[in-house]
């Protein structure tokens, strides 16, 4: 019996293992290039206004944990996420909101109906700043500690994920 005859079987086994691992991967778990970097430079006006209300300088000046949440009034999953953001606010987290490609009127109506979890809301009407941040959908949330991005979460944040995955990262020792 020649060992050559086992080559096809061996190749198949490698593929099968890779496929098995592939099945357990989470397609929404997309790494960000920005992890462990300072936030990109930007400055945004307040919703419905012209004046700059929110910029990278604000974030650099923050001590401790800050959350930046990209959202939009036209995004259904954002409605799902909203109550949890309200909860986070109650727990004392400081959340900056960025309204992504949204009209000021719609953003204001969304906040009026759903409540305001945000410390400040900036308007990124053409989505330029979102590109710099690597946002490819809403909602998307960045967790920043001492001015450094520690974690990025795409899709609505679930309470369980927040407790199990994000809190340990944020409470971890600074490197």
């Amino acid at each position: 019996m020649s060992l050559n005859r086992f080559i096809p079987l061996a190749v198949f086994c490698v593929i099968a293992i890779a496929l098995y691992v592939g099945l357990s991967l989470n397609p929404s778990n997309i790494p960000s290039e920005l992890i462990n970097d300072p936030t990109p430079e930007f400055s945004l006006p307040v919703v419905g206004g012209e004046e700059v209300s929110f910029s990278s300088i604000d974030l650099a000046a923050e001590d401790g944990v800050v959350i930046v949440n990209f959202f939009a009034s036209w995004c259904a999953p954002c409605y799902v996420e909203h109550p949890f953001l309200m909860k986070l606010k109650e727990r004392g987290y400081k959340i900056y909101g960025v309204a992504y490609k949204d009209k000021a009127r719609d953003t204001n109506r969304f906040i009026a109906q759903q409540g305001n979890p945000y410390y400040k809301i900036a308007a990124d009407e053409d989505g330029r700043v979102a590109i710099d941040w690597g946002v490819y959908g809403v909602p998307e949330t960045y967790f920043i500690k001492n001015g450094i991005i520690r974690y990025k979460h795409a899709s609505p944040i679930l309470e369980m994920e927040f407790e199990d995955k994000i809190v340990p990262i944020l409470e971890g020792v600074d490197e």
Partner: protein, 651 residues
Amino acid sequence: MIVEIGHFALILACLLSLIQSTFPLYGSLKGKGRLMAIAAPAAYGQFLFVTISFAALMYAFVVSDFSVANVARNSHTLKPMLYKISATWGNHEGSILFWTFILSLYGALVAFFGRKLPRTFYVKVLAIQALVGLGFYLFLLLTSNPFERIYPFPMEGNGLNPLLQDPGLAFHPPLLYMGYVGLSVTFSFAVGALIEGRVDAAWARWVRPWTLLAWCFLTAGITLGSWWAYYELGWGGWWFWDPVENASFMPWLVATGLLHSAIVVEKRDTLKAWTILLAIIAFSFSLLGTFIVRSGVLTSVHAFATDPERGVFILMFLFIVIGGSLLLFALRADKLQPGGLFAPISRESMLVINNLLLSVAALVVMFGTLYPLLRDALTGEKITVGPPFFNLAFGFLMIPLILVMGLGPSTSWKRADLMGLASRLKFVFAASLLMAIAVFYAAGGGEIMAGIWLAVGLWLLLSTLYEWAERVKLFKSGALARILRQPRASIGMSFGHLGLAIAVLGMAGTSYWGAEKQEIMSYGDKVSIGGYDVTFENTDGVIGPNYTAVRATFSASRDGGKPQILKPEARVYLTPPMPTTEAAILSRFTGDLFVVIGEANNRAYDQWAVRLYHKPLQVWLWGGVAVMVLGGLISLSDRRFRMGALKGAKK
């Protein structure tokens, strides 16, 4: 009630496949005639019950029975009847049931046409066929029951993805599945032969027609999908190296190789182990394709059923079927002694080169398709492998393949005379080169690769015609009689190669000389592209059965000739709400003019985004493939195969 009968029939078919895959196999190993006799009736029974089951599901779709979860999710009362029917296989559960239906159809066909095969071998083939079926029945019943009811049931269904609502796509999956599943027969023959420990010319003669049949369906199915992408997606492209396209292309490449290596087994009694391996791999790729599409392991535009649980089930099934058969191959292939020897320059060698190139091509496609996944699994990095990789790697394999294709049929078996071959074909080679240069300059030059592909296509075209002319001694008396007397298998070969030559010329034309324009146009605006002057005349509102649309009118004329009217549409479907484009295509022998209308400018209502493409020789691509399939069908009608299939081979 009818729905429950369908479900019940499916369970019965599952049990029958269990019986068919165990008792007859045991009987054939122990020489027990009574147990072997179960195989054929069980295969017919399976076919009967799955047919009942599939008909029941189709009935539920036709009458829009929304108490069936599957119907509620995928159909709608407003949908035209054709799409209600095609929705039966346009969703995950239904398509797997359809797969199984075709599998049982092939099982019944083998049971019928293979009656005269050696008894123990026949029974083994049917048992393996049933074993594959068993996996699919269990998959359906345990993870994807198409007959599941819901309560309370909705008054109206969710509709079907409007992109899928198209005649081309109604028939694309059935053809593709006929091809995919047809390879199961070849697989069963290969595994049966491994268990028997015997492969000979007769085996090759039984296997060839089934491979050919599957190959014809696969070719037609893939092309129909490509054609659909071309006119429906409105991107002006016809092949995207999308994982799902690749999933259907890999088995095609291997089946094409198998088709050729089986000739060597038949004529020269050698390359046996290799041919068996190809037969196993071809079907493995079919299964892998199903896995890729159904498990959502690779994300793609086709991902309409993603569910990891199902993925794990299919993976286990793949592991048993593919892993098991490859293990069997590893243990038993040494029993297959090679027969005839051959020299490095011979028809056999040409076919070996063909096989190597096709197999490497299949590996390249597999590697490109799975590499992002491997990388992600090992390092967590996300990357994509795109058309540049495939076009480069694949192109460099195809050029030598086509060059060899031109030589192969003119080469004699066992040992050929290289100098003689060269002196006979040198004029053909020179002629194709000259013609390519002439056409290249007439087309106004372009990329050098365009010229190379042109030359390669012309070489295949001319050498195939030359070989045919030589074979029938075209310029000697009695040529007509000789033309008519040609065996259909060799006529089929000529058509097959000719078809590919035409398709290659088409690909070269549309890929390298195509033009594309994106314009903002108002009524009366003119654009010229590909020698056409295109005028935007006006737009109309249209109401279809389940969509509303804007229909634009363009007129196109060439060299001041009579204007042709094109009417592209921008549709918005109602259920689910989704915009789609219906391109208007003016197809001519020399090329396609392709017009797509996009959105109106929000601020100025008389301005429209318009995309225009000129695709030279696009019809050659479709026509060439049609000729290839025709060649396959002619070859399939060869008397030798009919005798082989019906009466078994007399050695």
